[in-house]
C-alpha cells in the first residue's frame, strides 16, 4: 500500500506534440492518498484510462514522474510495481479453471500453495464464485468472467493500489449493486488505495470517499461528493454531476451583484473586477425557486415554464429564459402555481465562473 504521487504528469500519444490539443493528459499534479477510495469520473475520451495506465505502468508518460511513496516508479515495468488493475471487458485465461485463474497472480508472485489456497477461497466466497471454482473459465457467462477478472485484481493483498477501469460495464444491474457493495466492504476491511474509473455518477458517488473529475485531459476538481455538488470548480463539473445539471448563465459581475441581461441577481459574496473574457454564474436547479410575479415582488428572472416533469421524489420545471433552458427542482409537496413566471436563486449557492473556472469571492 502506498501513496501515489503524480508529479507534473502529461501524456501525448503523438511522438512530437506541438500544442495542448495534442495531449491526452495535460499536466497533472495530483496525490492519491494511501488507503482511500477514489472515483475517477469523466466523459469518454477525457484521459481517465490513460491516467490509469500510466499509474499501472502499461503506458510510459511523455512527461513527469509517478511516485509510490518516496519511490520513483516512472520507468519501472508493470510487473515490478505491485499494482492490480481490472479492465472494462472480461479477461480470463480460457484454458485454466476458475480456481487457477484466481490463483494465477499469486503464483506468479511466488506465494506458496497454502497461502494461495486460503486467499483464493476467501475471494471466491466474497464474489460468490465458490460453486464454479473447478470449472473451466471459458464456459462461463460474461458476468461470471468479469467477476473472475475482478477477483484476480482483489486476490493480492500487498498491492500499492487497485485500479478499476469501468469494471462493472458488462455486468447486469442487480449483480452490479452487489459487487459494488462487496468492493466497498473489501475497502473498509483492507484499506487498499482504490481508484475507480467510471462515467456513471451514481456509481462514483456511492463508492468513493473522494471523487476526481476529469475533463479533456485535465483534472478539474477533486472533492467529496458534497463539495462537487455545492461548489463545482468548473462549469463542466456543474453540468456533469447532478441531474439535471447546473444552470449556467452569461453574466456581468460587479461587487455582490451579477447582471444577467441587465437584470440583477444578488450574490452572497463580493467580487473584484474579474479577469477573463467569459464570465458566467452557475446555480444548481436544487437552489432555484419558481414563483409568480406577485410572490417574487419584482425580483427574479422572467421565464416561460415549458413543462413540469414528475420524476418521483421531486419535480423538474423546464423553463425558458431568453432562449436558454433553466431547470428548477421542486421538492415533493410544494405546489406549483400556473402563473409561476419568475425564477429566484438562493444567493448562498450562486457560483461565479471566469472562463469556466470558479472565482472565489470575498465575504460581502
Amino acid at each position: 500500500m502506498a501513496e501515489i504521487h503524480l508529479k507534473q504528469l502529461a501524456h501525448s500519444y503523438l511522438p512530437h506534440p506541438t500544442g495542448s490539443q495534442d495531449y491526452a493528459l495535460k499536466r497533472v499534479e495530483h496525490v492519491w492518498e494511501d488507503g482511500k477510495a477514489y472515483a475517477l469520473l469523466g466523459p469518454s475520451g477525457c484521459g481517465k484510462t490513460t491516467l490509469l495506465n500510466i499509474i499501472s505502468g502499461l503506458l510510459h508518460p511523455s512527461e513527469g514522474q509517478v511516485y509510490f511513496d518516496d519511490r520513483d516508479v516512472t520507468s519501472l515495468p508493470t510487473e515490478q510495481r505491485d499494482i492490480a488493475q481490472v479492465f472494462q471487458f472480461p479477461v480470463v485465461y480460457d484454458t485454466m479453471s476458475v480456481y487457477d485463474n484466481l490463483a494465477f497472480p499469486l503464483r506468479n508472485h511466488g506465494h506458496d500453495e497454502a497461502v494461495v489456497r486460503e486467499r483464493v477461497l476467501r475471494i471466491a466466497e466474497m464474489l460468490d464464485l465458490s460453486a464454479v471454482l473447478k470449472k473451466k473459465a471459458r464456459g462461463l457467462t460474461a458476468d461470471a468472467k468479469q467477476t473472475i477478472s475482478l477477483g484476480r485484481g482483489l486476490v493480492r493483498e500487498n498491492v500499492a493500489a487497485i485500479l478499476f477501469d469501468e469494471p462493472l460495464t458488462v455486468i447486469d444491474p442487480h449483480l452490479k449493486h452487489t459487487l459494488r457493495m462487496q468492493l466497498k466492504r473489501l475497502h473498509q476491511q483492507f484499506y487498499h488505495t482504490m481508484i475507480y474509473v467510471t462515467h456513471d455518477q451514481t456509481e462514483a458517488l456511492s463508492f468513493a470517499d473522494q471523487v476526481v473529475v476529469m475533463y479533456d485531459g485535465d483534472v478539474v476538481q477533486m472533492g467529496s461528493p458534497q463539495e462537487l455538488f455545492e461548489r463545482p470548480a468548473h462549469t463542466f463539473v456543474g453540468y456533469f454531476i447532478g441531474s439535471p445539471g447546473m444552470n449556467v448563465l452569461d453574466a456581468r459581475v460587479e461587487g455582490n451583484r451579477a447582471y444577467v441581461d441587465g437584470l440583477s441577481v444578488p450574490l452572497a459574496y463580493s467580487y473584484d473586477a474579474i479577469a477573463g473574457t467569459k464570465v458566467e454564474i452557475g446555480v444548481r436547479p436544487e437552489f432555484a425557486r419558481l414563483m409568480s410575479r406577485e410572490d417574487a415582488g419584482g425580483s427574479g428572472l422572467p421565464v416561460t415554464v415549458k413543462r413540469i416533469e414528475d420524476v418521483g421524489r421531486f419535480k423538474i420545471a423546464r423553463a425558458e429564459f431568453l432562449g436558454r433552458e433553466l431547470n428548477v427542482v421542486i421538492p415533493e409537496g410544494i405546489p406549483v402555481s400556473d402563473r409561476a413566471d419568475r425564477i429566484l436563486f438562493d444567493a448562498q449557492h450562486v457560483n461565479v465562473y471566469a472562463d469556466g473556472w470558479i472565482v472565489k469571492g470575498r465575504a460581502a
Binding site: L58, F87, F104, K136, S149
Partner: protein, 288 residues
C-alpha cells in the same frame, strides 16, 4: 392441408448433375477400374477385390506409405512450431508489418513445379548456389545419389515453401487477441512463457487446427516438388505415395492396381483427417 408431390426433386436436379460430373462419375470410374482387369482392346474382366488385396499386401506400397508417413511427420513437426515461432516474432505495426506479410506470402505464390525447379538448380554442385557453397566448405552433398541428402533437400524445400502458410495463419490468430489480455497478463505478473502458454496458444488453437489439417493433407498428397527434384530417387528412397501411384498408372499402365491404389490412398487421407479433426475438437469440448 399439405399437398404432397415430387416437385422438390426437380429443384435438386442441377446440384445432382453438378456433383455427379465433378465427383461421383470420376470416382466411380476409378472404382470401376479397380475391380476389373484389362489386356487392352477395351476388354475387361471381373477381378473382384484382387487388386486391393495385392496393393494392401504389397511391399512396394508399404514402403511408399512408410516414406509418406515419415515425410509428413517430419514436415509437420518442423513447420507447425517454426510457423508459430515466426508469427510470434513478426512485426505487428509500422512499416515492417506489410513488408513481413509480403515476404511471407511470396513462397506461397510460386507454382509448385517452379519451386521444384528452383531447388533442383539451387542444390546442384556445379551451378547451384547451395550445392556449390557446400562443396566449397568441404561438405559432400549430392541429392541425386545420397539418400540422406535427397531427403534433406525435399524436407527443407517443403519447409521453405509452406512454413509461411502456418506463420500467416498463426499471425492472423495472434492479431485477434485483444490488447487487454496482454495488459492483464502484465498486471498479473505473468512470464513471457505464461503469456504464450495461457493466452496466445489457446487463442491460436482453432487456426492451428486448420493449419495442421491443411499441411497434413497437402503433404500427404505431395507430388510435383519432390518429383521435379529427385524423381523419386536415388533408387526408390524418395518415392512418396503419389509418385509411386503415377509410376504405376502411367509408367507401367497397370490400371487396375493403380485404381485400387488410388482408392486406398484416398481412404487413408480421409480417415486420418477425420481422426485428427475429431480428436482435436473433442479435446476442445472436454475442456469446457
Amino acid at each position: 392441408m399439405k399437398t404432397w408431390n415430387n416437385k422438390a426433386w426437380f429443384m435438386v436436379v442441377p446440384v445432382v448433375i453438378l456433383v455427379a460430373f465433378s465427383a461421383v462419375i470420376p470416382l466411380m470410374t476409378v472404382v470401376n477400374y479397380s475391380v476389373q482387369d484389362t489386356f487392352g482392346n477395351n476388354q475387361f474382366f471381373w477381378a473382384g477385390l484382387e487388386w486391393f488385396n495385392e496393393i494392401v499386401n504389397s511391399e512396394r506400397f508399404h514402403d511408399a506409405l512408410g516414406r509418406q508417413f515419415l515425410f509428413t511427420f517430419l514436415i509437420l513437426i518442423i513447420e507447425i512450431p517454426l510457423g508459430v515461432y515466426i508469427a510470434l516474432h513478426m512485426p505487428t505495426k509500422g512499416w515492417g508489418r506489410p513488408v513481413a506479410l509480403v515476404l511471407m506470402s511470396l513462397p506461397l505464390l510460386i507454382p509448385w513445379n517452379v519451386v521444384g525447379t528452383i531447388w533442383q538448380i539451387f542444390g546442384r554442385s556445379d551451378i547451384g548456389l547451395l550445392g556449390y557453397t557446400l562443396q566449397l566448405l568441404g561438405i559432400e552433398y549430392n541429392y541425386t545419389q545420397n539418400t540422406f541428402d535427397a531427403w534433406a533437400t525435399i524436407i527443407v524445400m517443403d519447409v521453405w515453401h509452406w512454413t509461411s502458410l502456418v506463420a500467416l495463419l498463426a499471425y492472423a490468430g495472434l492479431q485477434s487477441i485483444p490488447q487487454a489480455y496482454y495488459q492483464a497478463a502484465r498486471i498479473d505478473g505473468a512470464s513471457r512463457w505464461a503469456v504464450f502458454r495461457y493466452i496466445q496458444l489457446p487463442k491460436m488453437r482453432s487456426v492451428l487446427l486448420i493449419a495442421f489439417l491443411l499441411r497434413f493433407m497437402d503433404s500427404f498428397m505431395i507430388y510435383t516438388e519432390p518429383f521435379v527434384v529427385t524423381g523419386g530417387g536415388p533408387g526408390n528412397s524418395t518415392t512418396l505415395l503419389s509418385i509411386d501411384l503415377v509410376k504405376m498408372a502411367i509408367g507401367q499402365f497397370d490400371l487396375g492396381p493403380a485404381a485400387a491404389f488410388s482408392l486406398v490412398y484416398f481412404l487413408i487421407i480421409l480417415l486420418l483427417s477425420w481422426v485428427f479433426y475429431t480428436v482435436m475438437t473433442n479435446i476442445d469440448k472436454q475442456e469446457r
